[in-house]
């Protein structure tokens, strides 16, 4: 066996040192009655065979479709340098940096990641990563409940349905009361907020751009939220923060989001990256690992895991969260991606996404029967109304080689004819004209 170096001779010697006659003796604590009733696993295969098999399976997944599906998870270009760096085994075969003296590379990289997130969100502190955008939102909700001692959560229905569902799932056994604010013309309704916002509210949860792609300035809502002593929590699309008003500028207390767009492949749903940043007063309520700078015995700068008294391995049932392993390697991707782009690259990236989406809007609005929703500005994703059921259109477009968008009817009642279209910097003019042309053809 390739991965087990033990030769018969090794085993003999080792058993001798241990003082047993056979390996089975080492398992004698397992009562006979508890031995496997069955262990029906196929025989092992060579590296070549398994590689061939999985190569075949990979070939059964479409890679030819021109992709206009986003819905919270986006097809951005990943610079080759990002892959080159995360493929360093010194990064990917290490464990969580518990021993700082032999983990400074990781610790500094995470400290840099935390800085990147703070810079993007315009907030003070960040942790070392959470599982994904949804669990990050849930952790933020729990922070608000702990901080305010209240249990009413107001959620805008412009927040990704997947995330809302996750919030409900995680809190089912906690006595938390949710109020959902309907979206009016694809925008969060201020009046509806007004109705429900009161001193029972622990937090208001918003998303920008919202699920329909609508860009908003929530400064006014946040102001109201603070009036009632509640927390303003948001879920954000990091690439959009190269252009859009930052959570910090709008006054949010906690900004979370899915970091996949920062150099992380779509990879059929994961691994992804949950990020969270907050105002510094909230740091001791934050979940997960946090890296801090300090000095060594000779006064030299170094980095360590810090504020660990928040965490499960110290506080156990009283911890701020149960998270242990996080998404460090994806956080590294984000840090490297952000470092490569730099301030200007990030602005360019955001601008290109905006420009191409606007161009797509123009082209699509030319098609009779297609109505591009323009009630609010958008970033790189927008809603169109079609003459028939979006599912049919999507189905026909796949034959033409396009994943043309996400049918909103899947998540929202009464929107069967609506399609959500994302246009990233990766889509060329040619791709967009192709989309328009094919769409016209299938309608």
């Amino acid at each position: 066996m390739s991965y087990i170096p033990h030769t018969p001779e090794d085993i003999k010697q080792m058993l001798g040192v241990i003082g047993v006659t056979g390996i089975d003796e080492l398992f004698k604590d397992i009562p006979a009655g508890l031995r496997p009733r069955s262990f029906d696993i196929p025989a092992g295969k060579s590296e070549a065979e398994v590689t061939r098999h999985l190569c075949r399976l990979a070939a059964k997944n479409a890679t030819h479709l021109v992709n206009f599906v986003g819905a919270g998870f986006y097809d951005h270009f990943i610079p080759a340098a990002v892959d080159a760096i995360v493929n360093r085994p010194e990064f990917y075969t290490a464990y969580t940096p518990y021993q700082p003296e032999c983990s400074q590379g990781w610790l500094q990289a995470i400290y840099e990641y935390q800085t990147v997130i703070c810079e993007l969100t315009g907030l003070d502190v960040s942790n070392a990563s959470l599982y994904d955008g949804g669990t990050a939102l849930y952790e933020a909700l729990m922070m608000a409940v702990r901080l305010t001692g209240r249990n009413k959560i107001i959620v805008d229905s412009g927040v990704n349905l997947i995330y809302r569902t996750m919030l409900y799932t995680y809190t089912k056994n906690l006595s938390i009361e949710f109020v959902e604010i309907p979206v009016v013309h694809g925008q969060s309704s201020r009046t509806e907020f007004g109705k429900h916002l009161d001193e029972k509210a622990a937090a208001v949860i918003l998303q920008n751009p919202n699920f329909f792609g609508a860009v908003d300035d929530y400064s006014d809502v946040v102001e109201q939220v603070h009036k009632f002593g509640a927390l303003a929590i948001g879920s954000f699309y990091p690439v959009s923060l190269g252009k859009l008003k930052s959570p910090g500028e709008m006054g949010f207390d906690i900004a979370t989001g899915e970091g996949q767009s920062l150099g992380i492949p779509l990879s059929f749903g994961g691994p992804y990256l949950g990020f969270m940043s907050a105002k510094k007063e909230l740091v001791r309520q934050m979940p997960g690992r946090i890296v801090g700078a300090t000095v060594d015995s000779e006064g030299k700068r170094g980095f360590v895991l810090t504020l660990q008294t928040r965490e499960q391995h110290i506080r156990r049932e009283k911890a701020t969260s149960n998270i242990c392993s996080n998404e460090a390697l994806c956080a590294l991707r984000a840090a490297v991606f952000a470092s490569l782009l730099g301030r200007e690259g990030l602005k360019e990236l955001a601008e290109h996404n905006y420009q191409k989406a606007e161009f797509a809007k123009e082209e699509l609005s030319r098609i009779s029967g297609v109505e591009v929703k323009r009630s609010s500005p958008t970033f790189n994703e927008f809603t169109v109304q079609l003459p028939h059921h979006a599912d049919e259109v999507v189905y026909r477009m796949i034959d033409k080689g396009f994943a043309c968008g996400f049918p909103l009817g899947r998540y929202y009642k009464g929107m069967d004819n609506y399609l959500l279209i994302a246009v990233t910097e990766k889509r060329t003019k040619e791709d967009i004209l192709g989309l328009a042309g094919s769409l016209e053809a299938v309608l």
């Binding site: 170096p5 090794d10 040192v17 390996i23 009562p31 508890l34 496997p36 696993i41 092992g44 295969k45 590296e47 398994v50 999985l54 399976l57 990979a58 070939a59 997944n61 890679t63 998870f73 085994p89 010194e90 940096p97 003296e101 500094q108 990289a109 840099e112 800085t115 703070c118 502190v125 599982y131 955008g133 995680y170 089912k172 056994n173 908003d216 252009k243 859009l244 492949p265 990879s267 994961g270 691994p271 992804y272 740091v283 000095v295 360590v304 810090t306 156990r316 149960n322 998404e327 460090a328 470092s339 301030r343 200007e344 690259g345 999507v394 189905y395 796949i398 996400f406 049918p407 003019k429």
Partner: protein, 482 residues
């Protein structure tokens, strides 16, 4: 080393985008745009590559060092699994594709991976069904706790308590607590096992579940395990299995057969997916028959025609616990690993892991105190109590090992062992490597008597010396500032 931000140079560029090939659109209204640019560093691609390449060289890792970090199963991660996960057909696949009409047939390969991985895990653990959605071990625990709650609620009872032994990993009580349970902790008895009387006393019809790690975090297989399970079931409670230590039991015992109702597995431990310096991992959860209905949606199913699909029809499901199907890239690597090893390989892995741990134990037991003098399974736990008498703490031993090029054992855990040295060699390390490590451990034991300062002054060969953790916590500096 300088921070990447400290290498910033105005006007320098690392990555540029082609000029957008579309006509200029009318600009977005100012009120929606950010006023202040970020302070992301402007550096060249070479700056970035040299910076992070050199940073990486400051880390210990499995590919460069022996890494016997207890409870973490830092086995070798076969390179071919990385290659497989990088195939475009997997890495570039959008998770929503199978949710589009007509899209399912364009993701058959990925769905098959999920379906087959679940099946293999179910057979390995003896559970009825699995969900691959949990994104790490602790996430699996939380998922499990929610499944348990849903089960009891379905039975019309909302039970209050979850029982955990004091030797349990911190995530166990934490997961139970955030799921809404009160945690009851059972002490470990003199014999090294969970105190059975205490357990009996605390067990009640208000007990929702008993969370155990098996082999436990002392590396010991509890012979009373079946008894404990039976008692729990009699009380109507469910048994939760923390699978972090499953590596010791592959083909030797199955949680399902022992009587566990809910199981989580750390693919990044037992199934050789790299830990990534903290993550990503994956913590698939398996359940016995009576809990299948509660599993998260969607479930991956195999149709009679052999095609795979997503099934959302489960009114009892707890709902979504992750956006899609879990950390697919990680599950894929674990699947490749299972296919590669196969039945024999998995059994041999458990045997060699246990052999290695017992070999370390045998060679070190005269030199270090054992909390409980018992044959161990996949890891052996010592205490530096004896060395502490000369002022040499477990942490000092850790630092000296670093100087010698070995990653230290786990020293912060399990909490019930003072000055713990939790050594998990894993099956992929050779006798030669173990001997090298053990010899240094013995040298340390000797030095602790003859010349303690030789140990306490370590590390000397590291990029930084011991760091001031108090300062770090007292004056948090958590980000670079311009």
């Amino acid at each position: 080393m300088k921070l990447i931000f400290e290498q910033h140079k105005e006007g320098r560029r690392g990555f540029t985008y082609e000029k957008a090939d579309v006509p200029d659109a009318k600009p977005l209204a100012k009120k929606y745009c950010r006023k202040y640019d970020t302070n992301l560093s402007s550096v060249s691609e070479l700056d970035v590559v040299r910076h992070y390449t050199n940073l990486s060289r400051l880390n210990f890792s499995v590919d460069t060092n022996f890494y016997p970090l207890g409870s973490c199963t830092m086995k070798y991660n076969p390179k071919f699994t990385e290659r497989v996960a990088s195939f475009d057909g997997f890495s570039q696949l959008h998770p929503l594709l199978p949710q589009l009409s007509g899209g399912g047939m364009l993701a058959q390969g990925a769905l098959e991976v999920l379906y087959e991985a679940e099946k293999l895990l179910a057979e390995i653990t003896g559970m009825a069904a699995f969900t691959t959605q949990p994104l790490a071990g602790a996430h699996g625990e939380l998922t499990g706790a929610m499944l348990i709650a849903a089960y009891h609620k379905d039975k019309g009872a909302r039970r209050k308590y979850v029982i955990v032994p004091d030797s349990s990993h911190g995530t166990n009580p934490a997961s139970a607590a955030i799921a809404g349970y009160q945690v009851i902790v059972i002490p470990t008895g003199r014999d090294g096992y969970m105190d059975l009387n205490e357990y009996k006393n605390k067990l009640s019809t208000e007990t929702a579940a008993v969370m155990l790690t098996c082999p436990d975090t002392l590396g010991i297989f509890n012979p009373h395990i079946k008894e404990i399970a039976d008692m729990a079931h009699e009380a109507g409670a469910l048994m939760y299995y923390d699978g972090a230590n499953l590596n010791a039991l592959l083909g030797k015992a199955r949680p399902g057969d022992i009587g566990f109702d809910v199981v989580h597995i750390n693919l990044h431990k037992t199934f050789a997916t790299p830990h990534g310096g903290g993550g990503p991992g994956a913590g698939p959860v398996g359940v016995s028959g009576h809990l299948v209905d509660f599993l998260p949606i969607p479930r991956v199913i195999r149709r009679s025609d052999g095609t795979y699909a997503l099934d959302y029809h489960s009114h009892k499901s707890i709902g979504y616990i992750a956006p899609f199907y879990g950390n697919f890239g990680v599950i894929l690597k674990a699947y490749a690993y299972m296919l590669r090893l196969g039945k024999e390989g998995l059994i041999k892995a458990a045997e060699a892991a246990v052999l290695n741990a017992n070999y370390c134990r045998a060679r070190l037991k005269e030199h270090y105190d054992q909390t409980f003098d018992k044959a161990c399974m996949h890891e052996c736990v010592f205490s530096a109590a004896r060395q502490v008498k000369n002022g040499v703490h477990a942490l000092d031993i850790a630092k000296y090992l670093i100087d010698k090029g070995y990653h230290p054992p786990t020293v912060y855990f399990p909490m019930i062992v003072k000055e713990a040295l939790m050594i998990e060699p894993t099956e992929t390390e050779s006798k030669e490597t173990l001997d090298g490590f053990i010899d240094v451990m013995i040298e340390i034991a000797r030095l602790a008597q003859s010349d303690p300062s030789a140990i306490t002054r370590a590390p000397l060969n590291t990029p930084v010396k011991r760091l001031d953790e108090t300062k770090a916590a007292r004056e948090p500096n958590l980000r670079w500032k311009p």
